[in-house]
């Protein structure tokens, strides 16, 4: 655990010294925060068309199980609540997409810089190395996403119609951003680190990691179209399952990490 902490501290220090690498994460987070406000508040205000006057939006918002509790609020607030809750799904992807580059470069970068050999000569376990690599990519992006989420909630509280915040902040949304988001990021980044340890090019690792974004986009579309509405309990189960998958993936990563290949096939 101590060695994992030492490696993690090194990874975080390295990322902090390479702030440009975090710029895409900040950008994605800012877009994630701003986009719902543009759609739910900015465009209606600019065009003078109220959200509550759009019959389709009212129908979708009313059909959404998550906003059923908010049927007694005004139509505008009901649609805003629906939109703000759906856009929360973007926070599942923000940490993942942002950290993907960092994770993809993690082991390949060490290979290219030839810095792995002295590391492998220490008592550091392969699992500690790979977990540190993954967490080193995840934690900074998770922190930025968390900051974005705080801005998002503060924005909803300040700018949305009365009653919207109380509808958006519910057990489902909390399970989504607190469990499913980090869980999906854990799995995607560990997968990326795993691939990163086996390939010669960070782009290859990144492409594999992106694979996990596909089901999340599917989940988002299904939510939007009311095809799928997972309960808070179901989302909690999904989050925990992702955590379990991460542990399995970490073990697989450590098993397939070929120390000898790293030393002898990198010239």
């Amino acid at each position: 655990m101590t060695r994992l902490r030492v490696m993690l501290d090194k990874e975080l220090l390295d990322v902090m010294r390479n702030r440009a690498a975090l710029f895409p994460v900040v950008l994605v987070t800012l877009v994630t925060v701003a986009l719902p406000f543009v759609i739910a508040i900015g465009i209606p205000a600019a065009t003078g068309e109220r959200l509550g006057e759009d019959a389709d939006l009212i129908r979708v918002a009313t059909a959404s199980t998550s906003t059923a509790a908010g049927h007694d609020v005004a139509p505008d607030a009901r649609v805003q609540a629906f939109l703000f809750e759906q856009f929360l799904l973007l926070f599942l992807m923000a940490p993942m997409t942002g950290a993907m580059t960092l994770a993809a470069h993690s082991v390949v970068g060490e290979k290219l810089a030839r810095t792995l050999e002295p590391l492998l000569a220490t008592p550091l376990r392969t699992s500690e190395l790979l977990a540190a690599k993954m967490l080193g990519a995840l934690l900074p992006t998770l922190a930025i996403s968390a900051a974005g989420l705080v801005m998002y909630v503060a924005g909803v509280a300040a700018l949305a119609e009365p009653g919207v915040l109380a509808i958006v902040i519910n057990a489902r949304s909390i399970a989504m951003v607190a469990l499913v988001g980090p869980g999906a990021a854990l799995v995607a980044l560990q997968l990326t680190v795993l691939v990163s340890s086996r390939v010669n090019d960070p782009r290859t690792a990144q492409q594999f990691g992106v694979l996990l974004i596909v089901p999340l986009v599917g989940l988002m579309v299904a939510q939007f179209t009311s095809m799928l509405a997972l309960t808070a309990r179901a989302l909690t189960a999904v989050g925990l399952a992702l955590g379990a998958i991460w542990i399995v993936l970490l073990a697989v990563s450590a098993t397939v990490f070929d120390r000898e290949a790293v030393l002898t096939r990198w010239r």
């Binding site: 060695r3 501290d9 090194k10 810089a113 002295p118 000569a121 008592p123 550091l124």
Partner: protein, 311 residues
């Protein structure tokens, strides 16, 4: 102490090193020399537990090196890689601090300070390693290998990129470490360095061609040849010399003669030459540069049973 028995490493169909057997006792410096691709780095990696031998065993301080024991054994070993392998965005102190943590060094800050002072790097402790010259980077890498005070140092080209003054300081440091009980195995292309540094030299070319003291390696090559310098032309004394050694040669005022036993035969040789009228100016053993011995060994490998695997 390191004991290697019949170490062989293959990469697919290619054999990098084959059947290396040697023993390195405590407080010795062994220089591993050989041409590019001779297997020097592969050998060091096997001794460090980074590569598993295809055949054979390594025993480090009485512990057999296996995948299971490699982590424990790694605490006894300081390993300097072929390239400095530093994290460019971290400072010198931060680079060393990470390794102090990974080796669970008891007082990491003090340990880092110790090696910084030892390598005269204290004034660059706060510099990012990307800003350092190649020589300084190499010194930092060396400091990293010494951090946890290992009993065995495996050093791949340790003086590569260092200027002559620093190289001398590093050699002095190696002498001090040896005196303090550390065993050093140093891979190098620099035969002069090998001769200055090492108690034993391992000449490697896929196989262990020789493993002996530098003087003994030269002795093997020269086979006890002696140079006798006389006044005037040595050619006139060549028939006498050839009566002792049929391969004796004359060159200007010098005769080169091989004698079986220097203590016994040289006095007899001198007496014979003086009786034949030679005015002898100098008698000395023929000592070719180590490079000559090395090149001779590569072209004419010794039989395995004469390679001298024991330190």
């Amino acid at each position: 102490m390191i004991v290697a028995s019949h170490l062989t490493r293959r990469f697919g169909a290619r054999t990098a090193v084959e059947d290396l057997t040697f023993e390195i006792t405590t407080s010795q410096i062994v220089a591993v020399v050989g041409p590019n691709g001779a297997g020097k780095t592969t050998t060091l990696r096997m001794l460090a537990g980074l590569l598993q031998p295809t055949h054979g065993d390594v025993i480090v301080d009485g512990v057999a090196l296996t995948p299971a024991s490699a982590r424990a054994v790694s605490r006894r070993i300081g390993f300097l890689t072929e390239t400095p392998a530093l994290w460019d965005r971290l400072t010198v102190r931060e680079n060393l601090g990470v390794y102090a943590g990974l080796y669970s060094v008891a007082r990491p800050t003090a340990a880092v300070d110790r090696v910084l002072n030892l390598l005269d790097l204290a004034n660059r402790a706060s510099s990012r390693t990307a800003e350092l010259s190649r020589g300084l980077r190499q010194k930092v890498a060396l400091a990293r290998a010494l951090l946890h005070q290992p009993s065995i140092l495996l050093l791949d080209e340790p003086t590569s990129g260092l200027d002559p003054e620093v190289t001398r300081d590093v050699r002095r440091l190696f002498d001090e470490l040896r005196a303090a009980g550390t065993t050093l195995v140093v891979s190098t292309h620099n035969l002069d360095e090998a001769e200055r540094l090492a108690d034993r030299i391992a000449v490697l070319h896929g196989r262990l061609l020789a493993f002996d003291r530098p003087a003994a390696l030269r002795q093997r090559l020269t086979g006890g040849r002696t140079i006798v310098r006389v006044c005037g032309d040595a050619g006139s004394f060549l028939p006498i010399a050839r009566a002792i050694d049929p391969d004796a040669a004359a060159d200007g005022s010098s005769l080169t003669i091989r004698v079986a036993d220097a203590d016994r035969d040289i006095s007899s040789l001198v007496r014979t030459l003086v009786e034949a009228g030679a005015d002898i100016v100098e008698v000395r053993p023929h000592t070719p540069p180590l490079e000559e011995a090395y090149l001779h060994l590569l072209k004419h490998p010794l039989r395995p049973d004469t390679a001298g695997p024991h330190a």
